[in-house]
């Protein structure tokens, strides 16, 4: 059985064109869903497939859709979160670049299931080529009657628009994304209320990751059971792992959930580069707590990694070798979050900057004995006290680095 689902047709030349895509069996799922299934049936199928969000938090997509109230007079919206800002993550870019119609297909089915007639694709500002490709794909879809009024004669209307972000990491957070989409400053909103009830322009809104939506056509086409077989019982389907760092073959690898980290690094990505030795792995994008070389026998799924104190996140595996100084890693992490903190809530605004200042001082060789303790204390104070998950995303990797590589960090202190 071919394990690849999303990336199965990546090798096909011109897949981004609708005719090529249709030649590979594209848009059949839309027809299946719109013509033969009720929205409730689609929703039910997705729920049964245990499709967990691929953006990072891993919230079951079907459940999320179910939260959208159906009996309110307000319009409902779908936002595709294509603001892929997490360092180390590049899977969505591949998906959208190679197979934009798959995303559109998923968008149409999701909109149909929730009763949405307007969808926005919020693309990261730096992904200009991707945005252009998506726009081309949307235009093709409109021409072919997959978008617009009365899709495929079923009476279902859907408009899709691409929105380019302005380059803020925080806009990958769903409420900040909504604010940005509304034309405001990308500041996260207070939750509750959740976007499912009060979202874009105060209307119920579904926000899904590109990869999540790309899975939808396969679930509709092949059924939830087929999908579940490709993963774990509570964690259906495959996952695209983006491997970067000191490996021989960095790139994206679509593998079933639950694949061991060691397998990913050493079998699929070709192992460490010549002469390099594994030191640590960040398993789920920069905001995931770091794993040491001893911990790479973990199966890569949400629950196992959470059990090990890390998280799957966006499944971006960053491999770090022994020659890389852990202080540089810490410096990169601290600088990134200090730079990307939106400045709205106190612990994140000042805490990340404070940590960054300490780390910079450490890197200059002007560290003091209690600096590591201070970093740990500050990160602990940020954790769980911020308005949006960015605070946690900053605190967790810093905490894990300080805990797991404390001895190495202490080496950078004077008189140590």
């Amino acid at each position: 059985m071919d394990e690849k689902v999303l990336t199965r047709h990546f090798g096909v030349e011109g897949l981004f064109r609708i005719d090529v895509y249709r030649g590979q069996g594209g848009y059949r799922a839309v027809e299946t869903a719109l013509k033969r299934m009720t929205p409730a049936a689609v929703l039910d199928e997705v729920k049964r497939a245990s499709l967990r969000g691929r953006g990072g938090a891993g919230f079951p997509a079907g459940v999320k859709w179910g939260f959208v109230p159906q009996n309110v007079p307000k319009p409902r919206y779908l936002c595709v979160n294509a603001d892929e800002g997490e360092p180390g993550t590049f899977k969505d870019r591949y998906l959208m670049n190679h197979n934009p119609h798959l995303l559109l297909e998923g968008t149409i089915i999701a909109s149909y299931a929730v009763g949405i007639h307007a969808a926005f694709i919020y693309v990261r500002g730096e992904y200009e080529a991707v945005a252009l490709r998506l726009e081309g794909a949307i235009a093709e879809a409109y021409r072919n009657g997959y978008l617009g009024k009365n899709i495929l004669g079923t009476g279902f209307d859907l408009d899709v628009a691409v929105h380019r972000g302005a380059g803020a990491y925080i806009c990958g957070e769903e409420t900040a994304l909504l604010e940005s989409l509304e034309g405001k400053r990308g500041h996260p909103r207070l939750k509750p209320p959740f976007p499912a009830s009060v979202g874009l322009f105060q209307c119920p809104t579904v926000i899904n990751n590109v990869e999540t939506l790309s899975n939808i056509p396969f679930i509709v086409q092949n059924g939830a059971g087929w999908f579940l077989k490709r993963g774990l019982p509570k964690d259906g389907g495959t996952r695209i792992f983006g491997v970067s760092g000191m490996v021989k073959k960095p790139g994206i690898y679509e593998l079933p959930l639950g694949t061991k980290l060691r397998t990913i690094i050493f079998d699929h990505a070709g192992g460490m580069k010549e002469g390099k030795q594994l030191k640590a792995v960040i398993p789920g994008g920069m905001s995931a707590p770091i794993l040491t070389a001893d911990e790479i026998d973990l199966p890569m799924d949400f629950d196992s990694l959470a059990g090990a104190g890390s998280m799957l996140g966006s499944a971006a595996v960053i491999v770090i070798d022994r020659e890389t100084s852990i202080l540089d890693v810490l410096k990169a992490v601290a600088k990134f979050y200090s730079h990307e903190s939106c400045g709205q809530c106190t612990p994140c605004r000042i805490g990340t900057a404070w940590i960054n200042k300490i780390v910079k001082r450490l890197a200059r060789g002007e560290g003091e004995q209690d600096d590591i303790d201070a970093i740990v204390r500050l990160a602990t104070n940020i954790k769980g006290k911020t308005l949006c998950p960015l605070g946690d995303a900053a605190a967790l990797p810093i905490l894990s680095i300080c805990q797991k590589f404390r001895r190495e960090l202490e080496g950078y202190l004077p008189h140590a």
Binding site: T346, P347, N381
Partner: protein
């Protein structure tokens, strides 16, 4: 009425309240910066985190709505630790210039810092340098180093004035409150920004560096500068031993009254307090030709009542005229009615008021007197002061110094010269001083007791916030004394010894005031 448990105390609170409001309603304060009752919760300061039983993380008290059976802890070690950490973060980038900060003494950050005792700084890095003297508005100066980005000011401008002048610029540690270049905040409510700022980031040039708040005595009063009747707090100061102050009131603040002015007052009322000390009448004088004699009020009352009595005796009631104004309290207008119209049969009642200004849609009204509605409700039949009508009189009691407005001084002089006896009860000096026989200083609203009826018909009692130092007399007392000297309805007036007693009589007689 959901029943919740705050710190193991079972309390019943109103539906829909947030935890913070619920706790405050039962006297448990929860520290906060960004929350303000006038705005929806913002949740950015993270100071109001509380522990809710059954939830893994601390929750915001300002945005969590009460639910039946919620168990909240506001002072558990975890909560206190969280508050300390938030305070530590805030103080890390907040300058320690409390000594020169006008907010010191009423600063929330300072108060919480004292309460949670973070006396040992662990911040070794350099603080961010920011603009310390940014001209934010006509009367506002922004110190960006002190700003804790609670965004109350931004939200005020977005939600109350809807002018949307300010916003947050930049991000992360570089976030700062900013406005459009070369266009500072200039609206009639900008003074409120300095009041709602929880720290000393926005200061008011009117109050900036004038004194320290702990020297001030706060007295409640009602703003008399328009007919809205905003509730205010006057902060007065006795001055330093060696440098006497030029004014008694150093600042006027809004006092919360959700039925009248919410949490706000307009700049016209906020900065218009100079009238309290400037140009005040301070000497009770009797002018005979060129000679001016200082008198006591008792003596003046005897002379005046003698004149009135002789006119009444000669049945020349129609040759007595009274000029009123609507900065008088309900009680005084009622007494004027009882003593002169109903008691002595004086029919010539005039009304001389300051000219109306421009109002706005929010608080400021066009009518620049405090009690026009009160005059209507008391039911005094008044006419406009027609110079011809005035000149035909023998005795004229003028209340207020507003008569001079709207008439040319020479016409007024000609008209008043024909009147035999003229007494002026005025709080401020004016052109009328030279035209009358008696000048009797009277207190302003802030210096006397009574009640006012605002434009919406809301009767608001007030007490004197400042002492009245001149040798004059409050109008209500003057009217009562005249009634006593004239022996008008002695039994009735002898019971009315205070504005409260007069108001009780007023309630009995006029249904509106019930």
């Amino acid at each position: 009425m959901p029943k919740i448990f705050i710190d193991d105390r079972a309390v019943e609170v109103a539906e829909g309240l947030t935890l913070l409001q619920a706790a405050e309603s039962v006297g448990i304060p929860i520290p906060h910066f960004c929350y303000h009752p006038a705005f929806p919760p913002e949740g950015s300061c993270r100071m109001c985190l509380v522990e809710i039983e059954g939830l893994p993380k601390l929750e915001l008290a300002c945005s969590t709505v009460v639910k039946e059976g919620l168990r909240v802890r506001t002072m558990s070690p975890k909560v206190v630790e969280a508050r300390k950490s938030v305070l530590e973060f805030l103080l890390a980038e907040h300058p320690l210039d409390c000594p020169i900060c006008d907010k010191a003494g009423e600063c929330k950050l300072q108060d919480y810092f004292e309460e949670y005792g973070l006396f040992k700084s662990q911040f070794k890095e350099a603080k961010e340098k920011r603009e310390k003297k940014f001209k934010l508005g006509r009367n506002l100066i922004l110190d960006r180093e002190r700003c804790i980005l609670c965004t109350r000011c931004v939200r005020f401008l977005n939600e109350i004035t809807k002018t949307e002048d300010a916003g947050i610029l930049n991000r992360g540690i570089h976030s700062e409150v900013g406005i459009f270049e070369s266009e500072f905040i200039d609206n009639n409510y900008s003074g409120n920004l300095a009041q709602i700022c929880p720290v000393g980031a926005i200061t008011d040039t009117d109050f900036r560096f004038k004194t320290r708040v702990w020297f001030l005595e706060s007295r409640e009063s009602i703003c008399p500068l328009c007919s809205r009747g905003c509730n205010i707090i006057m902060d007065s100061h006795a001055g330093y031993p060696r440098t006497l102050p030029t004014r008694r009131v150093y600042r006027v603040r809004a006092r919360q009254n959700l039925d009248v002015n919410f949490h706000w007052i307009c700049d016209y009322g906020r900065y218009g307090y100079a009238y309290l000390d400037e140009g005040r009448e301070d000497r009770l004088v009797w002018k005979k030709g060129d000679r001016e004699t200082r008198l006591s009020w008792d003596k003046a009352a005897q002379i005046l009542s003698e004149k009135i009595r002789s006119l009444v005796h000669l049945r020349k009631n129609s040759r007595i005229g009274i000029v009123l104004h609507t900065n008088l309290t309900n009680e005084e207008l009622f007494l004027a009615d009882r003593v002169f119209r109903k008691g002595l049969g004086v029919e010539k009642l005039f009304l001389a008021d300051p000219p109306p200004g421009k109002g706005d849609e929010f608080l400021l009204t066009a009518d620049r007197t405090a009690n026009r509605r009160g005059l209507q409700e008391v039911g005094l039949p008044v006419q406009a002061p027609d110079l011809k009508a005035l000149s035909g009189l023998d005795l004229l009691l003028i209340f207020g110094h507003y008569l001079a407005a709207g008439t040319s001084p020479s016409d007024l002089k000609n008209a008043l010269e024909k009147v035999e006896t003229k007494a002026l009860f005025a709080s401020h000096k004016s052109g009328l001083d030279g035209l009358v026989d008696f000048v009797i200083p009277v207190p302003v609203i802030a210096e006397k007791n009574g009640s006012l009826t605002n434009i919406d018909g809301r009767v608001q009692p007030f007490v004197a916030g400042l002492s009245f130092a001149g040798d004059g007399i409050a109008e209500w007392r003057a009217l009562l004394d005249l009634a006593r000297e004239l022996k008008v309805e002695h039994k009735y007036f002898s019971r009315l010894a205070s504005p409260e007693a007069i108001y009780r009589a007023l309630r009995k007689e006029i249904p509106f005031f019930k």
